[in-house]
């Protein structure tokens, strides 16, 4: 039991690092996309580049794509559960 808790603890740390890296990456690509979009053709209603990007990022923080990064925690746990079932079921 102690062993299981220890493994769960370290897995949680590892997955959190992965979550952090992925959210940085995703945020970075989103900011790049917004910058390029504004540079290509600045929209009429957003003459200020900074404000346009900040508004876009605020929208991203609430988007589904941002929330999907939580799958980093869910998928490995589900995979482990499925493996345990398949390997040990007769």
């Amino acid at each position: 039991m102690i062993g299981f808790l220890r493994v769960a603890f370290f897995a949680l740390i590892g997955l959190s690092v992965l979550y952090w890296l992925l959210s940085l990456y995703s945020r970075s690509t989103e900011r790049e996309r917004l910058e390029k979009k504004w540079d290509a053709a600045p929209p009429e209603d957003a003459p200020d580049r900074e404000a346009y990007i900040e508004a876009g990022m605020a929208k991203y923080e609430k988007s589904l794509r941002h929330k999907l990064i939580w799958l980093v925690y869910i998928v490995p746990m589900a995979v482990v559960a499925v493996i345990i079932y398949i390997v040990n079921a007769q």
């Binding site: 062993g3 299981f4 493994v7 890296l21 992925l22 940085l24 990456y25 970075s28 690509t29 900011r31 790049e32 482990v80 493996i83 345990i84 390997v87 040990n88 007769q90």
Partner: protein, 225 residues
């Protein structure tokens, strides 16, 4: 010289990765189970290739009772598997049913006259010199010795590993493009500034003599600095 060192290093990394995957990923053997037994076994320097001491079938000592499955291949060569729980972390098979597996294997025993062919899923290597055995994970009765088995698990695992590697590469490239390159550019610009100022100072310090030398230089077609 450095080229050989570099290629040697790369080769050893690739080889290590290959051996690691070859040991860890599941493989299938079509065999006939001849015997299942337990044997008190002392695990010493080869402990890396046995269950970790806190796994269910090991229980904390170097000398333990290990289950074995003795089998014969279609070509009559033999192979012996151990049958141990895998514990919690590595390799991630999460196998806790060694007793059941031993019972299933015993149930599928057969002799040479009436062979019952069995597909044994296992990982690991059999190296007699080090007394290490592959660990059986599952047994399944099959129709004959020529059954073809598609390694779905390996296909999926290797594909996922490849995708993860590509993703890490993309993440690193993004990080470099957005975080490292701008900093490097700033440094380069700052350095240019230092050089410009240095040149201006040098010009000032050159004085009359320097300008005279410069003027002499123009005779030889050298532009004034």
């Amino acid at each position: 010289m450095w080229r050989y060192v570099k290629w040697g290093f790369r080769l050893s990394v690739v080889l290590t990765l290959f051996l690691f995957l070859h040991y860890t990923l599941p493989q299938h053997d079509i065999v006939r189970i001849t015997e299942t037994y337990n044997r008190i076994t002392t695990v010493g320097a080869n402990a890396l290739f046995y269950a970790s001491p806190d796994a269910g079938t090991a229980e904390g000592t170097n000398t333990r009772d290990i289950r074995f499955i003795a089998t014969a291949r279609p070509n009559d060569k033999v192979i012996v598997y151990r049958n141990e729980d895998t514990g919690l972390i590595w390799p991630p098979y999460f196998k806790y049913d060694s007793s059941n597996l031993q019972a299933e294997a015993s149930n599928l025993r057969s002799d040479k006259i009436n062979p019952q062919w069995v597909s044994v899923t296992h990982y690991g290597w059999r190296i007699p010199f080090f007394s290490i055995y592959p660990n059986a994970v599952a047994v399944k009765a099959v129709a004959g010795p020529d059954v073809r088995i598609i390694p779905w698990v390996n296909i999926v695992v290797l594909t996922v590993l490849l995708l993860v590697a590509l993703m890490l590469r993309r993440m690193w490239l993004q990080f470099r493009e957005r975080m490292l390159d701008p900093v490097a550019q700033d440094v380069a610009e700052a350095w240019d500034g230092v050089e410009d100022r240095g040149e201006a100072a040098a010009k000032k310090a050159r004085g009359i003599w320097g300008r005279f030398v410069d003027w002499l230089g123009t005779f030889r077609g050298r532009p004034r600095r």
